[in-house]
Symmetry: D2
Subunit: 334 residues, 4 copies
Amino acid sequence: MKKDLVVGVIGGGRIGKLHTRNLVQMSGVTVKKVADIFADKMPTFEAEYGAPLVADFDEIFNDDEIDIVFICTPTDTHVEMIKRAAAKKKHIFCEKPISFSDEETIETYQIVKEAGVKFQIGVNRRFDRNFAQVKEHVANGSIGDIQLLRIDSRDPEAPPLSYVESSGGLFFDMMIHDFDMARFISGSEVKEVYAVGDALVNSELKGTDVDTAVVTLTFENGCLGVISNSRQAVYGYDQRLEAFGSKGASQAENELVNNVTLSTVEGVHSQKPLHFFLERYNDAYIKEVEEFVAAIHNDTDTPVTYEDGIMAQRLAFAANESLKTGKPVQVKKI
Amino acid sequence: MKKDLVVGVIGGGRIGKLHTRNLVQMSGVTVKKVADIFADKMPTFEAEYGAPLVADFDEIFNDDEIDIVFICTPTDTHVEMIKRAAAKKKHIFCEKPISFSDEETIETYQIVKEAGVKFQIGVNRRFDRNFAQVKEHVANGSIGDIQLLRIDSRDPEAPPLSYVESSGGLFFDMMIHDFDMARFISGSEVKEVYAVGDALVNSELKGTDVDTAVVTLTFENGCLGVISNSRQAVYGYDQRLEAFGSKGASQAENELVNNVTLSTVEGVHSQKPLHFFLERYNDAYIKEVEEFVAAIHNDTDTPVTYEDGIMAQRLAFAANESLKTGKPVQVKKI
Amino acid sequence: MKKDLVVGVIGGGRIGKLHTRNLVQMSGVTVKKVADIFADKMPTFEAEYGAPLVADFDEIFNDDEIDIVFICTPTDTHVEMIKRAAAKKKHIFCEKPISFSDEETIETYQIVKEAGVKFQIGVNRRFDRNFAQVKEHVANGSIGDIQLLRIDSRDPEAPPLSYVESSGGLFFDMMIHDFDMARFISGSEVKEVYAVGDALVNSELKGTDVDTAVVTLTFENGCLGVISNSRQAVYGYDQRLEAFGSKGASQAENELVNNVTLSTVEGVHSQKPLHFFLERYNDAYIKEVEEFVAAIHNDTDTPVTYEDGIMAQRLAFAANESLKTGKPVQVKKI
Amino acid sequence: MKKDLVVGVIGGGRIGKLHTRNLVQMSGVTVKKVADIFADKMPTFEAEYGAPLVADFDEIFNDDEIDIVFICTPTDTHVEMIKRAAAKKKHIFCEKPISFSDEETIETYQIVKEAGVKFQIGVNRRFDRNFAQVKEHVANGSIGDIQLLRIDSRDPEAPPLSYVESSGGLFFDMMIHDFDMARFISGSEVKEVYAVGDALVNSELKGTDVDTAVVTLTFENGCLGVISNSRQAVYGYDQRLEAFGSKGASQAENELVNNVTLSTVEGVHSQKPLHFFLERYNDAYIKEVEEFVAAIHNDTDTPVTYEDGIMAQRLAFAANESLKTGKPVQVKKI
C-alpha cells in the first residue's frame, strides 16, 4: 500500500468541514491541519472533525509534509490560494468557481500548468450516481447521438439577500453547476447561450439578481439544451436531468427521503426529495475526493480539470451578458 | 363481412346494462332484445342503452333469430337460464359464478356439452391489459418457471349487508375472480388451499361472512400462491398481482385516475387508483365479449370455458371449507 | 332531452374519420353527412364509420337541417370553409391551425363574430385528463404563483418529407399544440419567444425546416417557460409537462401501454408510452367534442375560442421569425 | 460529552467485520479488540478494519475496560458467549438468532435479566428508513387499524448447500427477519402460523430444507398477514412490505441502484434493486448500533429486546412445525 498523502485544508466553513469529515475517514490520505482565520472561535473543531485547526494559512503552505491543499475559502481568495499552493508544488483541490474574473482565471491557469501540480475543481455533481449513469448512457451510445439536454435545478430555499449580493449572481453561484453538467453530459462545448430570468421568488432582488432563470444552450455537436433554475422549490432540492437522442432518452429523477407511499382517501402520498446538497450529494462529495486522491497516487489526470473550471465560468459570463443585453451570446473558447 | 350475430340479454341490472351498452357499439353483433322482469319500471332503458326491453324471458329463448344469450340474472337463476338457452341451441355468455352448487354446475356442464353450443364464463379480468401482460410474461418464459404468485384484490367500499347475505360469501362473490386469475396466470391447477379470514371492516358480519381474507394456494406445477382480499380499501379499487419465477418477476400495478403528481411542502401527491370495476375494467369488459363473439363467428374455442367456471368455484368451495375447519383443503378435480 | 344537433363533417381523412367515429356514438348529436372530394374512392366509409359520405361540400353547406360543420380539410382550405359555414349560420368546429396567414385569420375572425355562430378550434390536448389536472393545479392555487412552465413534446416518428413541406413547418404543424398548452396552463399570454432549432433527426430537412427545437417563452404574468420538440422519439409519443410555482410543482407524466414491470437479471423493464396521438388522446378527442356540443345545446361559450386559435398561431409566427433572425421576438397582441 | 464506551467484538467474519467497520467510525464508542479463532489467518485485519485482532475470546471477556460485547460468532455459540458476557456484566449486542433451542434461549434470558446488562438482538431491518416509515404510519394511525400485512423478502442468490445445512433452515436463517418485522410493524404478537414451502430454486435441497415459502400469520390484534420468501431473485435483493388498514395502506418499495430510466425502442429500463443486504441495509446497520450505544449511554431500554429475539424464533419454530405437519400451528407465548 502506498504512503498516505498528507492534506491541509484552507477554510473551515461549511464546505471545509464537509471535506475534512470525509477526508479523515478516507484511506490513502491523512488530514494534517485545517486552517481558518476564525480558528479561535471554533474550539470544538478538532473533536468534531478529527483534525487540528490552525489560524494561519502559512502553517499549511509552509509545511513540507503537506502534499495536497484543499481550497475552501470564499471565491475572491481562490486565485491567491491557488498561486501560493502552486508555488509550493502542492496539489490543489479548489471549490468552484475559480474566480469571478476570466483574466485572473487564465493567468492562474498558466501558473498551475507550469507548476506541474494536479488540480481539480470541485464540481461534485459529476460524481452523483444518477448523473454519472446518464453520462454513461450518452457516452456508451445507449441514446445514440444526443439531440436535446434538459437540466432542472432548484434549491429548496433561497439564500439570504446578503449572501446573494456577494455570490456573483445566480449564474455564477448556482447555475455554474448546471453549466458544468451540460458540458459533462453532452461531451461537447457550448457555442451560444440565451438567458431569461427574473426575481420571482423574492421581488426585493429585482435590479440586483434573478432567482428564476431559463437558459437555452446551443452545443458545438449540434445538441440543443435548456437549463432552468429556481432559488426556491418548497418541496425540496430538485435536481433532475434528461438527455435525449436518436436512439432514446436517459432521465435522472430525484432521490426521495424514502421509498414509502401512503395511500389514503385523499390519494397516494410519497416523500419529498432529499432536502439539500448535503443529503443528496453526500456520496458524490466522497467520490470526487477519492478520485482526486487516486489520481495523485497513480499520477493520472484528475477527473475534472482546470479547463472544466474555466469553461463553466465562461458559460456563466455569457449568460450574464445575455440577460443584460436580451440577446444570445457566443461563448469564448480557451 | 359475416352476418351480424343476434344477441338477447337476460337481466337488465348493472351488469346487463354494461354488456348491452358495449354490445350495441360492437361490430359483428346486434342486440335484438333485453329481458328483465322489472321491465315496466325501466321506461328509459331503450333510449339509454339502445336496445328494446321486454319483461318475458321467453321472448328471447323462443326467438329463433337470436343466436346468443347473455345471462346477467342473479346467480341462483343461472342454471335454469343455461339449460333453457342450451335447449334452444343458443350460444351462452354467463356471468360468474355458474351456480352455488357443484352438483348443479356439473349436471349443467353435461347439458351444455351435449347441446354443442359455445359457452363463456364472464371473468373480465383475464382481458385486462395489465393482467394479460403478466400472463404473457409467464407463458412466454420471461420469468422462467413460476414459483410464487401473489394477488392483492381490494374493493373500494363494502357492499350492504343485505347484498353480502345473498352473495355466497367473500370467496364466492369476490375472491372467485382471483381464483380464476390464479389458474389463468399460473397455467396450473391448484391442489390445496388454506384460508384465514375475519370481519375486520364490518364487525356486524361476524358469524355470517368474512370481509378480509388471506388464502394460501399450492399449485400442481409446484408454484406457491397467496391471495388477499379486503372489502374496503378507502383509497380505491386495488387490483395488483405479481408472478415470480426462476428468471424474474412480472408485476401489475394499479391504474391511477391520472398520471399527474403534485409536489408541495407536504410531499409528493399522486392520484388514487381508478375507483371501481366499471372504471378499471371498462376495456376488459369490451374485450371479453369481442373475443367471445369472434369465437362464434370463427367457430373456435371460447377464451374462457365452462371448465374454468367449474374450477374457480371449486377453489371457493375449498376456501370456505378451510375457513370453517381451520385446515388446508384439497381441491376436487373435474 | 333536447333535440339532437345535426352535424356535417367536411373532410373524410384521418382526423375527419376520427371525429365521425366519435360523433356517431355520442348522445345529443347526429352525423347527417360527411363530405370528401375523394368520396368515390371510399366505398366502405359508411359501413365503417356509420355516416353517409358525399363528394360535394355544398350538400353540407346547403342543407338547412345541419346545425354544425366540422372542418377537417387541409389548413389551406380552412378560411374558405369557415366563411361558407358562417354565411349559412352553422356552428363551426375547425381543426388547428385556422390558417397560415395572420391577416386571413383576423379577417375571418370578424366574419365569424358577426355571424354569431359558435366556434371551437381543435386543440385536443386541453381535454387530456393529465394536462387538465395540471391546469387545475395551477388555476386552483395548488402550486401558488406559476414561475416556470416546461413542455416536452416528441412524436414517435418523423412524417415524410412531402408532408413536412406542406405542413407550415415544425412550429406551425407540431409546436402549435404546445403553444396553445402554454397559454392554457399558465393562464397568461406570452410576451416574447426565442427559438433555436435544427434538423437533427433528418439532415435532408436542413434549409427547409427544423425537426428539433427549443423555444423559450416569457409570459405577461412573469412566468418563464420552455418548450422542446422533436419529430422522433424512438420510444414512443412523449408528452409531458410541468408547472412550477411558489407553492409547488405539478407534473404530467406519460401514459404507458400498460402498468406492468418485468424484473430480470438485466434490470426492471416497463412499457413504452402509448404510441401516438390516436392512442394517447383518444378520450381527449371525445371530450373536446362533447364540450363543444354541450356549449351549443346550452348556449354557453365554447371551451376553446377563435382567439385561442389566433394566439397559438402568433406564437408560431414569432418562433419562425426568431429562428430566422436569431433574436428574441415580441408576440403581437390581438 | 460522555466517556467513550469500550467495545470488544467476538467473531471477525462477515458480520463482525461489518460491525467493526461501523463502530470504529462512530462517536461515543471505541473498539478495543476483535477476537476470532482464526486470527492468525487474517494478518491485514487491523489495517483494514482499524481494530486489533486477537485469537483468544478471553482477552475480551477478561478485559475490565470493555463495556460492551458484540457477539458475531455462529449461532451455536451464542448462548455460551451471552452467558460469559453476562457473567462479566458486559452489555451485549448479539446477532440473530439467539439459539436454535427454545429452552436454552429462555434459560439464558433469565441469566441476562439477572445480570442487569443491556441486551440487543441484531435485527437491522427495523432501522431501515423505509420499514421504519411504514412502522410510523401504522403507529401514528395514518392507516387506521391494521388489517393486512404483507412481507415479500427474496435474496438475490441462494447460499451454498453447505451453508444451508447448518443454517437452521429457511425459517430460522432467512424468514426470522421477516417474523421480526411482522411483530415490529403490526405492534402485535402472532397467534398462529401456517406454512407451505418447497425446494423450487434448487431441487437438491428437497428433504433437507425449502427455499421458497409462503407463511400465513394470524395476529392477536386481528390483523392477517403473509410472508413470502425465496432464496433467489435473479434481479436482486427484493425487500418490500405493505401494511393495509381501515384508513389506508403504507407500502415500502425497493431501493434501486440509481434513479435513472433509459427509454429506448424496446421500452423503459430502470435499475435493479440494490444487490444485497450490505448495500440495502448499510445505513440500518449503523443506526441499530448507534441506538444501542445511545441506550447504554443514557441508560434507557434498548430498541430491540431479548423478548423480541425469543418471539421471532418461536415464529420460526412454529413455521417449521407447520411445514412438517401440514397444519396451522399456535405460537407459544413467553
